[in-house]
């Protein structure tokens, strides 16, 4: 039965891993099993049909809802049947693979959007994802693994989670599972071993996942502490003084251009702002008198970046000004910005002569401000 409109929002729990096969789904189902045994109304709302035998075993004994079948280009695909889950109205719904992109023709394009519907209906959701699916980590993952992950989940969705559980396993154990064929089909194992599962990749991804989990745990402590008078002693000296200490609040300004490197700049700015508890604004300065006078291609790039910033909960501003670096720096001064974030984009000599080399000019002009030139992490380092 659908719940009445005043039902409190359901809480979200995320099982965070660092690669396929670490055991996220297994852990989620095992915990679901335990909850069912305690008498909690748990259902499996979506669960990969090609799952590993051990994992399928865990799902037995928990009510599993039928998937929605969607025809696309002559093939049948299975997606979560969000309507059916709402109709069934369980206390807890288990939804595998939060970062999944739905097949065209689905009501919503991303599974995390379906999860929002369930949460809004007051259903508690447990779900799984890997660290590389966190939007703001996308460039770091690219830098570490050389692989660009396409399916991402906005940081804000992960931040909603009441609880993050780190699912950890050693890379050796994971590689054993892989070689035994317990993760991928045999024909895919070789490809995986030379790609994502390559030696140092797994260690680096594992470290990232552990640090991300620690950061998420830390954020939830701050949220709890802000509502309580009594404080549990904290581990770090800097944080013992709390966020409202005598340090002036940092304000980060991200300079947006049509250059593709801006997406990476926005992600990095979001991440740094989160850790520093800073405010974050994104600014685009157009040299034409009207935004609509920009060439169509450039305007589309700008609009895409502004939308992307807003999707990561960054306030956006658009200003006109013939001298872009000067307008950016003056905006920063007027708004007590402490750090300007600019992209280290490749600059053509011609553009440099035209004064289009924004980052260099911003660095030169903003002698009284901190300017962070964010590296292009898409190119791998060769030392």
């Amino acid at each position: 039965m659908p719940k009445p409109a005043d039902t409190p929002r359901g809480s979200l729990k995320v099982y965070l891993g660092y690669a396929a096969g670490v055991g996220k789904t297994f852990q989620m189902l095992a915990d679901g099993h335990a909850a069912a045994q305690r008498g909690v109304d748990v259902v499996v709302a979506y669960f990969e049909p090609h799952a590993r035998p051990d994992t399928i075993g865990q799902a037995q004994g928990i009510e599993t809802l039928a998937h929605r079948k969607i025809e696309y280009r002559g093939k049948t695909f299975e997606e979560m049947d969000t309507e059916a889950v709402l109709q069934r109205g369980p206390t807890i719904a288990l939804v595998d693979e939060l970062a999944h992109t739905n097949i065209p023709g689905s009501a919503r394009s991303k599974r995390w959007e379906d999860v929002q519907i369930l949460l809004d209906a007051g259903i508690e959701v447990w779900t799984t994802m890997n660290v590389q699916h966190i939007e703001s980590l996308n460039d770091q993952i690219w830098q570490i693994t050389g692989i660009q992950v396409r399916e991402t989940v906005p940081d804000g969705v992960v931040r909603q989670a009441a609880e993050i559980v780190a699912v950890d396993v050693t890379p050796d154990a994971l590689l054993n599972r892989l070689k035994r064929g317990a993760v991928y089909k045999p024909e895919m194992v070789e490809k995986a071993l030379t790609g994502f599962f390559k030696g140092s990749n797994l260690g680096a991804l594992r470290e990232l996942a552990l640090r991300q989990a620690a950061h998420e745990v830390d954020l939830r402590q701050s949220a709890y502490d802000e509502t309580r008078a009594f404080q549990v002693p904290r581990i770090s000296e800097a944080r013992r003084t709390g966020p409202a200490d005598n340090q002036p609040k940092e304000r980060i300004l991200i300079h947006i251009t049509a250059d593709p490197s801006t997406a990476m700049l926005i992600r990095r700015g979001r991440r740094v702002a989160d850790y520093l508890h800073a405010d974050c604004t994104a600014l685009f300065v157009h040299q034409t008198s009207e935004l609509s006078q920009l060439p169509a291609e450039e305007r589309q790039g700008i609009e895409k970046h502004l939308r992307f910033a807003r999707s990561l909960q960054i306030e956006t501003q658009v200003l006109g000004g013939s001298d872009v670096p000067k307008t950016v720096v003056e905006f920063a001064r007027r708004n007590q910005v402490t750090q300007i974030f600019v992209a280290h984009s490749e600059v053509l000599l011609l553009d440099r002569l035209r004064g289009k080399n924004f980052y260099e000019n911003i660095v030169r002009l903003a002698q009284d401000l901190q300017v962070t030139v964010v590296a292009d992490r898409s190119r791998r380092q060769v030392s």
Binding site: Q143, R220, T372, Q381
Partner: protein
Amino acid sequence: MRVSELPKPSPERLLKQVQAEESKRWGAKLKIFLGYAPGVGKSYRMLDEARRRHERGEDVVVGAVQGQQSEDVQALLRKLELIPPLQTPEGQPIDLDAILRRAPQVCVIDPLAAQNPPGSRNAYRWQDVQELLRNGISVLSSVNLLHVEEYKDKVQTITGKNTTETIPKSFLLAADDIVIVDVPPDLCLWRQGEKLTSTGISNFQERQLSELRELALLLTAEVVDAQLESYVHAHGIEPVFGTHERFLVCVTPRSNAPAMIESGERNKERFQGELHAVYVCEPGRSKRERVTIRRYFDAAKKAGASTKVLESNDPISAIVEFAREKRITQIFIGHSDHNTWRDRFFGDPVLRLIRAAEGIDVRVFPH
């Protein structure tokens, strides 16, 4: 010999290193299951792995078990061979001689942190474990954060709990494998017999456990980072960037070093990262400058930074080279305030650094 004077590893040497690593793999391995508090399920995870290995044909025995056991753990223990510990009035040390005689491939020692009774061959159980490893027996063991010597005081500050039975952190860092067994605090309390609340932090006890949980996750990340570094060295591959925030403050006599160091310290704390400070000493620098730098370095050390003087005629290359070696993710440097003939000729040094520091963020500070 200074590090910079060491010859680059030859292919033969690298191969030897790799082979040494491999041969270690054929020998005994230590795997530790770390938990942030009792009730997270370390023993279960560990014994479940022991069971799986036993079923795959490995010769597994159990040398020590925890006092209180859940039904799940008891069920696993029934499937495994036990070498009972010795019964003495002062405690139950593992029967080291019996295990060595039995010579299994894998031995489960639960828990790792225990003091042996007076007169035992080794004062601590972790030394018994070392003896097993030296004799070619792999060990699966479990430890709680409270029992890691370097974390004992922190845990006591948070929870008030104390212990005398500890293992050194270096023992963890030297383990072949470490796994963190992570569960939300409410589930952990539920296993200890408390009522299950909800997900998230909803009471004081959960808040305390959450603090321990963060510490345990960061400790595991540190061990993983150390393993990653030795892997990278042993295989002679390029270092991995970006797993961990590492800040490098470039100190010069005219820069606002105190502001950069203070910001570096705050960033280090917030990101749970590393802080380094360097000064590039070009030939012909005055004595007064050296005094200033020494003062800045003292401040940097107080902020928890490692400090280093680099000697070079080419400051930018020296900084970038150092940053790559230390896997720095952000370089802090002061705005260039003076226009020497050299800058005019070669270009602004800050802009040259930004161009050279490919893959690393550069944060430019006001004077």
